[in-house]
Every structure is written in C-alpha cells, then in structure tokens.
C-alpha cells in the first residue's frame, strides 16, 4: 500500500530555505553593488509574475480537466492544487514591489508630470488608482476561486458525493472564464504597459501560452520529484506521455503565436510597432534568438517521437529547459523596456533572485501537498486515472 500523505521532510525544508536565502543574498548584492533600482525592481517583478503564473496554471490544469470531464489526470491533480497556493503570495510580493517605489521604475506612464501626447491619450486606462483596482480584482478573483476549488475538491474527497463533483465543475468553469479574461488584461497591465507606447492585440494570448507551457512542465517536474521520493507510484508512462504531449503541443502553439505576432509586425513594417522588435533584435539579440531555439526547437525535436514522450529521462530535462526558457522569454519582454540595454544583464542578481523564488515556490507547493491526501480517492474518475492506458 502506498503512502498517500506527503511529509514535508526536514531536508526539503532546508533546501527550500537555503534557496530563499540565496535569493535574499542576491537581492542584497544588487543593492550593495549598485546595480540600480530599475534592475532590482524589474527582477522582482519578473519573478513574482512568473511564479504567480505557475500557480495560476496549476489551478488551470485542475479546472480545465474538470470541465472537460477527463479522467486520466485525476491522480495528479493535487500537484496543480498545491501550486495554486502561491497565487496570493506572488500577489503580495508584487504589491510590495509596486508600493515601495517599483511603479516608477517599471512604468513610464506613472510619471504623469511629463507624458507625451500618446501616453496622455491612455491616461483613462493607465493611471495608478485604476491599475491598483484591477490588480486587486485579479488577485482576489484568483485567490478566492482557487480556494473554493481546493475546498470543494477536498469535500469531494471526504464525501464522494456527486454533488460536490458538480460543484467542482461549476467553480472550475468560473475560474477558467475569469482567468481567460484576467490573464489577458493583467498581461497588458504588468508587462505590455512597460513599453507604454507599444501595443499588440495578440500580446495577452502570447503571454498566456507561455504561462501554460511552463505551468504544465512544472507540474511534470513536481510529479517526478514526488515519484522519486516514493509517492504517487501509480503515475506511469501513460501519464508522463500525456504530459509530454502537452509540452510538445503547447511549445508548438507558443511558437505559432510568436510567429504570428512577429511576422505581422515585420511584414506591415509600421514604425511604432516595429520599434519593439528592433530594440530586442539590436540589443538583446542573443536572448531573442535563443528564446526560439530553447522554447521551440528543443522541445519540438526532443519530444517528437512517441518513446521520448514516455520516458522521464527526456521529459524531465525538457521540462526544466522549458522552465528556464520561458523565464528568458519573460526577461526579453520586460527588461528592454524596464531597464534598457545599457543597464540590463544576467548576473548573480538575476540568477540568485530566481533561485530564491524557486525555493519559495517549492516550499509553498510542498507545504500544500503535505496538508491533504496526495490522491483524491473519492473523485468519480479516480479509478480511470489509476487504470489509465491508451494506445496513443
């Protein structure tokens, strides 16, 4: 009989806290070495957005499969639920960064005393009070809905009544709809408005596709860690295969949106739009091109065959590559506008802060996993997930 309660061991805690300490150290280093407020703020902003989005996708994984009535993933869904615990924490960090001077470092439009004509035209949307209202609505919505889904999932586990399953699906539908809108608008707020003059209608979906592929990759990584620690032995090649297919398909989907946005701007060649890519290709060329290689070419080639999608020794490294790759993607979305090519760079500050956030995210997720049984035994599709096999 396998162990169904996860124990947050001392070792895990130590690793997590050491990582957080590295993050704090890197932050301190940033201040001491005088790397500049822009760079420090942008880093904190990048990571709080990145890890919040992982939490959001963790819950999205649960919700979207609940409303599509799939069964295979049920035995892994606690991972997604636990990841969503990070949402409010990410929100608090982001808020602290904004409140303690971050706004002015990040967003050109907050300097209301010298706005040009175009930015003046956007004041009705890009102004601080409204910005904070939207911020509050998004995080409140995400946190509350995620909490409700977790709670219902727990009740379903204890009770096994179909009523709770229907409730779960209802909340999931709310969550998916809310996320569909809020993820788009929040990406305008927190990312696109950094380059305040620039605009692209596809932007929100592009960011969402990036979040999606990373979030799913991180779910695989957590599942693998749990399996290595002796939990969740029922997760077999078939489950890994499906996650591999998701990673493969979503990487292609991300590349498709990347190409659509880039090609249309390149082709029409309107200066106020091309400036965005011009800046990135001229000054951030390494990361601009590697972004495509790491996030499209590598997953595409490595996960192409059936066998490679089924073995952890391929899927897990690719998941890690995707995790790093989409951090890079976010970097090239934020840094050119927020820091500028003269001051931006990837050094101890960037790497250290990311390690710190990773540690915090791990701690939160493992904490969440340790609070509830690792598998939802009474979920109506739980058996399907255990006896899961398919010919493709």
């Amino acid at each position: 009989m396998e162990n169904i309660t996860f124990k947050l061991t001392k070792k895990l805690k130590t690793i997590g806290f050491v990582m957080v300490a590295i993050g704090l150290l890197a932050l301190a280093y940033g201040f001491i070495a005088g790397l500049g407020g822009d760079r420090i703020v942008a880093n904190l902003h990048l990571n709080s957005f990145y890890f919040t989005s992982l939490g959001l996708i963790g819950m999205f994984f649960v919700a979207v499969h609940a409303i599509s009535e799939s069964g295979w993933q049920v035995s892994m869904q606690r991972v997604g639920e636990a990841m969503s615990l990070f949402i409010p924490i990410g929100g608090i960090i982001m808020l602290l960064v904004f409140v303690f001077g971050g706004m002015h470092h990040l967003f050109e439009w907050t300097h209301t005393e010298h706005l040009d004509e175009i930015l003046l035209g956007k004041v009705a949307y890009l102004n601080q009070p409204f910005f904070y209202v939207r911020f509050a609505v998004f995080f409140a919505g995400w946190t509350v809905l995620a909490w409700m889904i977790r709670k219902t999932s727990r009740e379903l586990d204890i009770n096994g009544d179909i009523k709770y399953f229907n409730k779960l699906r209802k909340y999931s539908a709310f969550y998916v709809v809310f996320l569909a809108v809020s993820s788009v608008v929040s990406s305008w707020d927190w990312l696109m408005s950094i380059d305040a003059h620039w605009f692209s209608t596809l932007y929100g979906w592009y960011v969402f596709s990036s979040m999606l592929v990373t979030g799913f990759s991180v779910i695989v990584i957590f599942t693998y860690i749990l399996k290595r620690m002796g939990y969740m032995q029922h997760v077999n090649d078939e489950h890994i295969h499906d996650m591999g297919k998701y990673m493969f398909a979503l990487s292609i989907f991300w590349a498709y949106l990347w190409f659509s946005q880039y090609m249309l701007i390149w082709y029409a060649n309107i200066p106020e739009e091309t400036i965005y890519f011009y800046e990135r290709i001229k000054h951030f060329d390494t990361i601009f091109y590697w972004n495509l290689i790491v996030n499209f070419a590598i997953p595409f080639l490595l996960l192409m065959t059936r066998n490679s999608k089924r073995v952890s020794s391929v899927v897990i490294p690719v998941a890690v590559i995707i995790f790093i790759g989409h951090w890079m993607d976010l970097y090239q979305l934020i840094m050119p506008g927020a820091v500028g090519y003269e001051a931006a760079g990837i050094g101890f500050l960037e790497i250290g802060v990311t390690i710190g956030f990773t540690g915090l995210f791990m701690l939160v997720t493992f904490f969440g996993l340790s609070k509830v049984p690792l598998v939802p035994k009474n979920h109506p599709f739980y058996e399907e997930s255990l006896h899961y096999h398919t010919n493709y």
């Binding site: 956007k122 003059h197 605009f199 209608t201 498709y256 659509s260 599709f381 399907e384 006896h387 398919t390």
Partner: protein, 456 residues
C-alpha cells in the same frame, strides 16, 4: 479500459455490431425519400442560379459585380472566408478531437469531414472567379513558364493557394483513408452485382486483417497529428491576407488565432445545422444523440467566447493604440453606415452562444438548431464587417463610398450554397454517413451494452 460508471453511454439503445452496420447503411439502401428529392430540387435550383451568375461574370467580367474603386473586396472574399471557416469543423473534429481522445467524435466525424471538403471547394471558387478568368486559374501555381516569372512567394494570397490546396488534399486523403474500411463493409453487404463491383473498386481491396487495422490506426493518428496544425495554419494564413496589410481594422496581431477560433465556431454551427436535420431524416438519433449535440455546443461556447474576447480586445486596443485611423475604423464599424452589420455580428456571435451556458438550452435540439443558424449568419457578417467596413472609408475622404452587391454576386453566393447542399445530399446516398468501424470500436466501452469491471 476502465470507464467510470457516471459517464453516460455515447450510443443509445441495445445494439450489437451487426445492428450498427444495419442502422448506418440503412440511408444508403432503397429509394430516396420524398424529402431528399425536395432537398435536391431546391439545391439544384440554387446551383443553377449560381451557374447563371458564373456565366455573367465570365462573359461580361467582374464589372457585373457591385465592387468599385474603393471597395475592391466585397461578397466574394466574405464568402471565401466564410466557407473556409465552415470547412474547419470537419478536420478539427477528426484530428484535434482524436488527439484529445474525445470518443463522441466517432459519430460525427465522417459527415463533418465530407462537409469540410465540400465547403473548401466552395471557398476555392471565389478567389478563382474573382480573378475574372476561370480558365487561367492555373497561373497561381508556380510552374516554369515562358514569361520566366515565378509567383510572388511574399504574398499572403499566394500562401493561401498553398494552404487551401494542401488543406483540401490532406483532408481528402484523411477522409478517404477513414472511409476505406467502411466501403469494405458496404461492398460485403451489397445485394446487387453492380453495387458490389462499384464498392469493391472503391474499397481498394480492404480485408480488415489485423495488420491492416493496426497500421490503419497509426496512419490515422499521424494524419491527425499533421492535420491539427494544418487546420490552425489554414485560417491563420487566411487572416494574413488581411493582417499583413496596413489597413486600419485589418492590421492587428490577434487575427491568426482569432480567425482560427471563429472558423471552428462557424464550422461547428454548420455541422449542427446539418446534422440536426440529418439525424432526424436518416433515423440516426441513437447515434447522434443529445449528448453529442451538447458536446458540440460546449465547443461553440468555448470558441464563441474566444471570438468575443477578441472583438473586445481589438476594440480596446484600437483606442489604446492612440492611432487615430485605427480608432476611427472601429468607431465607423460600430456607429457608421454599416453599424447594422456590426450589431448583427455582435448579437449572433457574442450574445447567442452564451445561452448555451444553460443546460436546458444546450440540451434542447430545437434551441440548438436555431442558435446554430444565428451563428452561421453572425459569422458571415463578421467577415462582411471586416472586409467592407475597413475598405469603404479609406484614408482619403473624397473616395469614401458605399458598397452594395449586385444580383450576380448574390447569385454566386446562393450558387455555392446550392453546390454545398447538393453534394451533401449526394454524399449521404453514396457513402456511410457515420464511421461504422469507429463507432463499433467504441461501442463496448461507451455503448449501452457496456460491461462492468475492466477488461484490458
């Protein structure tokens, strides 16, 4: 494979395998019904109208259309995009839903794919006829010629040539490969010599041996894997026709995924419109059940909502961009002389599908039928709004005009509708409308004589 007891069966009624064969082949046997004759008469009449319009266009040129110097694209491109969009459901159902293991697809994929092929053929007609000389249509392909010129590979219109022809060909072989085993069944069930000979010829010598089946499944799966990105690419490239330009209202980066979503949306609406009638007329209600309709309605909510978000995003971004031309283009859409078209589009595409959030409505056959027609209309107007409102008031106010289609243009549109229904009516007489073998293969795990416990 274990199936949770709370899942409802896909196929209704106690059935064994031979019953499935009998039920599905029934519409092909015997004399066509009265309704069938009525339908084909009506659609042939429409087709005749189209033939007249085609003749007028060929004989007098496209001067017979309502196009003018400012509005160079009108109903023709609207119809083209509308038909291509409808052609997206079939391959979406058979490829993407196959990859997502949606077993309910087995009852509808055959007819939806046939619909796709016919719709894409109807679509291809419009750019060809817009070129004015149907017989010189082959100019669009790159072939060595005495002019020493190649086609312009930098043009999205040329990408369309490749996308549409690839889509047509790949959908065709996908559909036919799936059809081969069922044609084998038709051959073996044939009662007359001539039928046996014809279907023997068409079934390519199918025996259903274990290796044939095993590889058949592999081929279907790989084709699905290829067709899935292909479906996305086709409407993406159609959207490039507009979005690579610098016309306000056309040049926007959200177009590719938004067009794809709109295409699937309209495609499912057309599938619903046709199948709700067909299941009744052909007595296939136990195969295409309310559950199938409900599942399709869920796809309609999803894609309809994506389209709705895209409309709002576009509108917001037009304001946010600070580009006055962009802002004007959208105000003109919503409040200009073509505002009626815009609001028809908004109502049909954004409001009506939201009714499907109510279980009562999405499981009602009548309501679904009505809403599916609304969506068909709405999606036609979406293309009309995009094409015409962006063009009719261009950068020079002195060249602002209105556009009205001529009778010839109406004739061309009605003609393709006639072609579509004629070919579909012929299809249901000639080929099995439901994939017999695929339904049989899911009958046990999801049918009503499903066994309890698991057998692996």
């Amino acid at each position: 494979m274990y199936v949770s007891p709370i899942r409802e069966p896909l196929i209704r009624g106690e059935k064994d395998y031979s019953q499935v064969t009998k039920d599905i082949l029934a519409p092909m046997a015997g004399k066509p019904t009265r309704y069938w004759y009525m339908g084909i008469t009506l659609s042939s009449a429409a087709l005749l109208f189209g033939a007249w319009a085609t003749f007028m266009t060929m004989y007098y040129g496209i001067g017979t259309w309502g196009l003018n110097k400012t509005v160079g694209w009108g109903w023709d491109i609207t119809n083209f995009v509308w038909w291509v969009g409808i052609g997206h459901a079939g391959t979406f159902i058979s490829a993407i839903l196959l990859l997502f293991r949606q077993k309910w697809r087995t009852s509808i994929n055959r007819s939806a794919e046939a619909m796709t092929l016919i719709a894409v053929a109807c679509a291809g007609f419009f750019p060809l006829i817009h070129m004015g000389r149907l017989l010189l249509g082959f100019f669009i392909f790159p072939y060595p010629n005495t002019r020493a010129l190649w086609v312009n590979f930098n043009s999205p219109l040329l990408w369309d040539v490749f996308a549409i022809s690839t889509y047509l060909l790949v959908s065709l072989i996908f559909w036919y490969v799936g059809l081969i085993p069922d044609l084998g069944t038709v051959r073996d069930k044939a009662t007359t010599k001539i039928r046996k000979a014809i279907y023997g010829f068409l079934s390519f010598g199918w025996t259903g041996s274990v290796k044939q089946w095993s590889r058949h499944e592999t081929v279907s799966l790989i084709l699905a894997g290829l067709a899935a990105p292909l479906v996305l690419s086709v409407h993406t490239i159609v959207s490039f026709d507009f979005a690579t330009s610098v016309i306000p209202g056309w040049h926007t980066t959200i177009f590719p995924p938004y067009f794809v979503s709109g295409a699937v949306f309209s495609g499912f609406a057309m599938v619903l419109t046709l199948l709700i009638v067909a299941r009744k007329a052909l007595g296939l209600e136990e195969y295409i059940t309310v559950n199938h309709i409900e599942s399709m309605n869920k796809v309609i909510i999803l894609t309809g909502s994506i389209v709705g978000i895209a409309y709002i995003t576009e509108f917001f971004m037009a304001w946010y961009s600070g580009v006055e031309y962009e802002q004007y283009a959208f105000l003109n859409r919503a409040f200009g002389p073509y505002a009626w078209a815009y609001w028809i589009m908004m109502t049909c595409n954004v409001v009506t599908p939201q009714l499907f959030w109510f279980k009562k409505i999405r499981t009602s056959v009548v309501a679904t039928f009505i809403i599916s027609i609304f969506v068909n209309i709405g999606m036609w107007f979406e293309r009309f709004v995009i094409v015409v409102t962006s063009l009719h008031r261009d950068f020079l106010p002195s060249s602002w005009v209105m556009y009205k289609p001529s009778l010839v243009e109406v004739g061309l549109y009605v003609g393709t509708l006639g072609l579509f229904f004629t070919l579909f009516l012929l299809f249901i007489r000639v080929f099995p409308v439901i994939a017999i073998a695929e339904v049989k293969s899911v009958l046990k795990s999801t049918g009503s004589f499903k066994k309890t416990g698991h057998h692996e």
